[in-house]
Amino acid sequence: MSKRRPYVRPMDGWWRKNPYFVEYMIHEGTAFFVAAYAAVLLVGLVRLSQGEAAWNGWLHSLTSPWYVLFHLAALLAITYHTYTWFKIMPRTMPPVVVGGERLPAWAITGTGLAVAAAAGIGLLAFVWGMAR
């Protein structure tokens, strides 16, 4: 009779045991804000389809301090999500070879962040131009 008795350690609270996992959980958590913001926009779209009064009501509700607070929080969370998303991006792609040399991870992350920033600023400029 074998005397082996392999001991399996429990996984409870695994994500609290390593700062890397905490960061990962925060990253995953910020995805909630992405979804929540999409839901808010979707409601706006529904309101728009229901006529001018409904739309204005929705616009008005957005000026409440709670909504402003939510938007600030969402901005922060989505910025963080964007940053960590591009940080992991080089690990998810096939190697990119430019001129016989493999593109380093920082270049991929950097390009991603730059494109995200440019798109954000571009959108802002576009909306601002429309509003004027």
Partner: protein, 595 residues
């Protein structure tokens, strides 16, 4: 006790053992193969080989050149017919490794690339960056998974061979995870357990390199041949002994003393040129380079470090880019273990024990004198290394003779009937009683670590780079004493599961036997040849009395009996072993006289 019925049992899952297993499986898929290894195969010490594997590749190279380099490198103590077979098979086997997926480094047009190595006339060392052994081992291990007839016994520790009717009929193993014993019945056995470098204090070897297979065969009456020839690698990390591959010098590295002087030119290896020249200076053979270090130390021209004297391996002129491409592992070892950036500073190095040229006596077919027992790789003495192995010949040896041992063992297995299981089991049970008795025994007072340390120290003292009769005698006496004290060894751990203290004790007993064979063989060889160099009146090579193989025979509870066997010489008569400019001159003279 569990019994497993195999046809061929292979003990050792490193390069040679895996190659042997594949050879048996390919020769006859109906043969049942038991591959026993005390570690998972990819942990075997083949993994640590760095520089490369030799095989004629370039159009300018010839099999004869490889033959001549090997025989002269071995100071003519080689079996020349075996060397001839070996050099012819090297390119074939290395190509086979390529077909199995080994990631050999390539030339821009896609062919396998070769690099220069010590003692080799022309570049013929196939390499996979500086992790050649790692890649060869993993390629062989992963390829072996393809063959359903190979049944692996991973983390099974072999404690004895079973011999009946005058032939090997199996092996007894401990399953490390449970501490339970298994009898593996087989009609032939291949030992491929690697070297025994851990009997020395400062060595490049992994913890598993304890000469187990050598001791197993030796105790069953098979002689250990040429055991006095132990290779010191000239460029190792002080303290730990970790290896900086010869490829550092193959790529153009320099060895300098405390004055920044390339001292090898003072020892018949010059002239010193800015780029490497084959068979000269830093690309001389390992025995000569380690000996030169010893003389520099005597002259006070080495550098003092916390772990003894060192010289400098200077790679700075190669530049970071080339170092990162060709020597990435060396780069990381220097940075992590020594805090040295080799692109900016020289690496401190000193010689350490690296390889056992001798081993289980086998013929060119890898057959030992004990019927049914075959051996391949570092544990064996098939006769290709002589008194000094050339770097990169041993990885090729694993393939060439691993395959041959496997095929020969398979053919032998098919030619004999299975044994009588009841009798084999009875023998195995006696082995079980003996090894379990070691754990159960109480009252011992010798610590394993103490005995092991004393053994390693006395081997370094008596059987180092240069040897003297009186210190060798002291080493022999000390080993006799340690063997007596071992009887009183104390094992604290009384459990069954993963009792590594028990295994360490068994390994130590193996090591003491192998160390004795080395020390007594050394004491008895009254000449200097290759890696065996004496300073007590026997400084010259003596072909009249000692152009022969030493054979150490096991004597229970006593000193080994040493006798000698002939050396097979076919086409290369013993000559002067010269390197550098002197070597080139000697070769021209030889060629002229052949016309």
């Amino acid at each position: 006790m569990e019994t497993y019925k195999a046809d061929v049992v292979i003990i050792g899952g490193g390069g040679a053992g895996l190659r042997a297993a594949i050879a048996v499986a390919e020769l006859d898929p109906s043969l049942r193969i038991a591959l026993v290894s005390k570690v998972y195969p990819m942990r075997s010490h083949t993994v640590a080989a760095e520089g490369g594997s030799a095989g004629v590749k370039l159009p300018t190279d010839k099999l004869d050149y490889h033959f001549n380099d090997t025989v002269a490198g071995g100071d003519w103590l080689c079996e020349q017919d075996v060397v001839e077979y070996f050099v012819a098979q090297c390119p074939v086997e290395l190509t086979q490794m390529e077909h199995w997926g080994c990631p050999w480094s390539r030339t821009p047009d896609g062919h396998v690339n070769v690099r220069a190595f010590g003692g080799m006339k022309i570049e013929r060392t196939w390499f996979a960056a500086d992790k050649t052994g790692f890649h060869m081992l993993h390629t062989l291990f992963q390829t072996s998974i393809k063959y359903p007839s190979i049944k692996r016994f991973d983390e099974h520790f072999c404690v004895d061979l079973v011999v009946a009717d005058g032939r090997v009929q199996g092996a007894v193993t401990i399953e490390i995870a449970s501490g339970e014993l298994t009898l593996i019945e087989a009609r032939a056995a291949v030992i491929a357990t690697g070297g025994a470098g851990r009997v020395f204090r400062e060595n490049t070897n992994g913890g598993v390199v304890t000469g187990d297979g050598m001791a197993l065969a030796y105790r069953h009456g098979v002689p250990l041949r040429d055991m006095e020839f132990v290779q010191y690698h000239p460029t190792c990390m002080p303290g730990t002994g970790l290896l900086f591959t010869e490829a550092c010098r193959g790529e153009g590295g320099f060895l300098v003393n405390k004055d920044g002087y390339r001292y090898l030119q003072d020892y018949g290896l010059g002239p010193a040129e800015p780029t490497p020249r084959n068979k000269a200076m830093e690309l001389g053979p390992r025995d000569r380079l380690s000996q030169a270090f010893w003389y520099e130390q005597q002259k006070g021209r080495t550098i003092d470090g916390p772990h003894g004297s060192v010289v400098h391996l200077d790679l700075r002129h190669l530049g970071e880019a080339k170092l990162r491409e060709r020597l990435p592992q060396i780069y990381e070892l220097a940075e992590q273990f020594l805090g040295v950036d080799p692109a900016l500073a020289p690496i401190p190095v000193r010689p350490a024990v690296h390889y056992t040229m001798g081993g289980i006596m086998v013929d060119g077919l890898c057959a030992s004198p004990l019927p049914g027992l075959y051996a391949a790789g570092e544990c064996s003495s098939v006769g290709i290394h002589g008194a000094n192995r050339l770097g990169s010949n041993s990885l090729s040896e694993l393939c060439v003779f691993g395959k041959r041992a496997g095929e020969e063992a398979a053919n032998f297995a098919k030619s004999v009937p299975p044994g009588h299981s009841a009798e084999l089991l009875k023998q195995a049970q006696a082995v079980e009683q003996r090894v379990l008795g070691m754990v159960k025994k109480t009252g011992g007072n010798e610590r394993i670590a103490t005995l092991r340390k004393e053994m390693a120290q006395t081997m370094e003292d008596g059987c180092g780079i240069y040897r003297l009769a009186d210190t060798m005698q002291k080493t022999c006496d000390k080993l006799d004493e340690l063997k007596q004290r071992f009887k009183n060894v104390h094992i604290e751990d009384k459990s069954s599961v993963w009792n590594t203290e028990w295994l360490l004790a068994i390994e130590l007993e193996y090591q003491l036997d192998v160390a004795q064979a080395m020390a007594y063989s050394a004491l008895n060889r009254r000449e200097s040849r290759g890696a065996h160099q004496r300073l007590d009146g026997f400084e010259a090579r003596d072909d009249v009395n000692f152009l022969k193989h030493s054979q150490a025979h096991y004597v229970a509870d006593g000193a080994p009996r040493i006798d000698y066997g002939p050396v097979k010489i076919t086409k290369s008569q013993p000559g002067t072993r010269a390197y550098g400019a002197a070597g080139e001159k000697a070769e021209q003279e030889r060629n002229a006289s052949h016309v």
